[in-house]
Symmetry: C2
Subunit: 174 residues, 2 copies
Amino acid sequence: MARLADCIAMMDEGIGRVSQVIPDMPVAEARLTRLLLMVGHTFDEAVEQELRPHGINHSDFLTLMILYSRPDGSSTPGELCEYTSQGATNMTRIANALVKRGLITRGPSEEDRRRVVIRITPAGRRFVQKLLPPLFPRVSAAYAGFSEADKRNFSRLLRKLAANLDRLDEAPTP
Amino acid sequence: MARLADCIAMMDEGIGRVSQVIPDMPVAEARLTRLLLMVGHTFDEAVEQELRPHGINHSDFLTLMILYSRPDGSSTPGELCEYTSQGATNMTRIANALVKRGLITRGPSEEDRRRVVIRITPAGRRFVQKLLPPLFPRVSAAYAGFSEADKRNFSRLLRKLAANLDRLDEAPTP
DNA sequence: CTAAATTAATTCACCAGTGAAATATGAGCT
DNA sequence: AGCTCATATTTCACTGGTGAATTAATTTAG
């Protein structure tokens, strides 16, 4: 696989050339967007690769982590869909897989019987606790050379971007 | 679909709680990573949504854009795989789709007959030129409130991150 | 100069994720 | 109550993407 640096160099040149043919292109913003997508995609791949040996994929892991992070260790498919950005269809599959591995339980809700309550099991908690620590060195290494100010700035800019994207999504349907 | 801001708030709290149970977690880095992945994913969705009406998906579009940005408008499946981070299998499918729509041509290479040369057609160029401009307003809007310094910083930090990820990928196989 | 190893693209079988429709429960209205 | 509308989850059919094996051409080693 090509190094990210090569892909970035190629993208920089490519956008430069395209902008000469299509002059009103927002060049800086296009570059930032491509950069963000490339780095995000690479991060995604790295996570997936780290999880594969444990027989779990990124969305399954994210779902499990949300449950783990909850004070009561439980949620519903609908809520998990919102926070994982997964469709309900896929959440059914994820829940099936995690139930089969004994990491969560799934049962009907008492209050509203349309709902299903999903709860992390003790085995699920142990799984997370065993899985996480080996991830830490690589997570830290990714931000090597980032000063405290860099981290604050990066966080601030990503959050601003998120706020802008939220507004863009809401504008079309007022 | 939940707003990104809600997902982020939830993630901030969740990581806060998890870090109290698992104390040696790199909290700031974990937050930045989740932020990056969430924003990246949302951007991805936005692009996909923008392209859908034109009957083209993100990888097809990216492939076409690389060809468009080349001085000679041509490349090979292998090279396109490297720069799009797609597997060769998928590139075959992408090329099939673009050929069927008449946006590219595919023929054997003169020098090395194992290779295939892929070239953008005039129709492909027109397609890109019609597709791009309507994308610009939303790309610009995503960076609303970014000062010039913010853009420079964001670019610098993403590139540093990319360099770190390159090193992480190379280290395991010395 | 041939034989083995390497490289490029494709095909095939499978996993992950999505949209539309089905099922079932709950809430509101008269 | 009964009827309609909304909500929550699941099922089904399909798209997008991946790994392993296949085919074909080129390079390298003996």
